[in-house]
């Protein structure tokens, strides 16, 4: 429950920030500059899409336990 409270505050801030970046974004369009959101720790477009999955020992064990042994 405490969690959902923080969520709404984050949401509200996000909304205000959205307006801010919206205006800032519109302003920079004229200058032809691409803006990145000043988000907390946003990943770049390529970074966020890169593969995370790897066949670690943990994952291998998952596959093994799901097979008939």
């Amino acid at each position: 429950m405490a969690k959902s409270k923080t969520d709404t505050t984050l949401d509200r801030r996000g909304f205000l920030k959205g307006i801010g970046t919206g205006a800032a974004g519109a302003a920079t369009v004229a200058a032809g500059v691409t803006t990145t959101s000043p988000a907390l720790a946003a990943e770049s477009t390529t970074d966020k899409k890169k593969a995370r999955y790897r066949e670690s020992a943990h994952v291998k064990k998952f596959y093994a336990t799901n097979r008939y042994l």
């Binding site: 990943e43 670690s56 943990h58 596959y63 799901n66």
Partner: protein, 198 residues
């Protein structure tokens, strides 16, 4: 490159709802939102089956197609994620999703939709991996830790499979061959436009 998929072996699912609980706990999913759920078809009738369903991380995802602000992206693992920074909570993805995956907290005006929340395949979101910001907005990023979605990892009957689509399809095929039956990979035709020949 491995293509992540979910597969629910409906012949094994006992509707214990532990996947639902595990998901809620692992990702600290807000009140009123269920990223995963178990649906029982033909309840109480002969041939009843339960299927654990969440976002299937579709090929050519309908949610991404209809999004008016283009907040979705598909990772190289073929996991469909979205940015809550960009989402406006319009609800179109819920209308288009064949599996009813997108969920909305009732935070906006008139109790209307807040920012959409859905299964992330335990792969976080567009914030840096395993940061607090990512956890608060999207939940755990187990994939970056070399793990798989918790719902599948802790499934008590090993009904729910996750991971490399080819490997879990192989596991399922082996199961069907060994035990002699299998009611098929639910949702695969819709999500991945392919089925498992058994």
């Amino acid at each position: 490159m491995a293509r992540m998929k979910f597969l629910c072996d409906a012949d094994r699912c006992i509707e214990c709802n532990a996947c639902v609980t595990a998901c809620k706990n692992e990702n600290d999913v807000p009140w009123g939102i269920n990223r995963r759920r178990v649906v029982t078809i033909n309840d109480g009738k002969p041939g009843e089956r339960s299927v654990s369903m969440a976002c299937m991380h579709c090929t050519d995802a309908p949610c991404a197609a209809v999004c008016p602000v283009d907040c979705f992206y598909t990772t190289d693992d073929a996991v469909v994620l979205h940015s809550k920074e960009l989402c406006i909570g319009c609800g179109y993805c819920f209308y288009a999703c064949p599996f009813g995956a997108p969920q909305y907290p009732k935070t906006a005006n008139f109790g209307s939709r807040g920012k959409m929340d859905k299964c992330t395949y335990c792969a976080g979101g567009p914030e840096a991996d395993n940061t607090k910001a990512e956890y608060v907005a999207y939940g755990a990023n187990r994939l970056a830790e070399g793990k798989l979605p918790l719902c599948a990892e802790m499934c008590s009957t090993k009904s729910l499979l996750a991971g490399d689509g080819e490997i879990i399809a192989q596991i399922y095929k082996e199961r069907v061959a060994k035990r002699g039956y299998g009611s098929g990979a639910w949702g695969w035709k819709t999500a991945y436009k392919e089925d498992i020949a058994t």
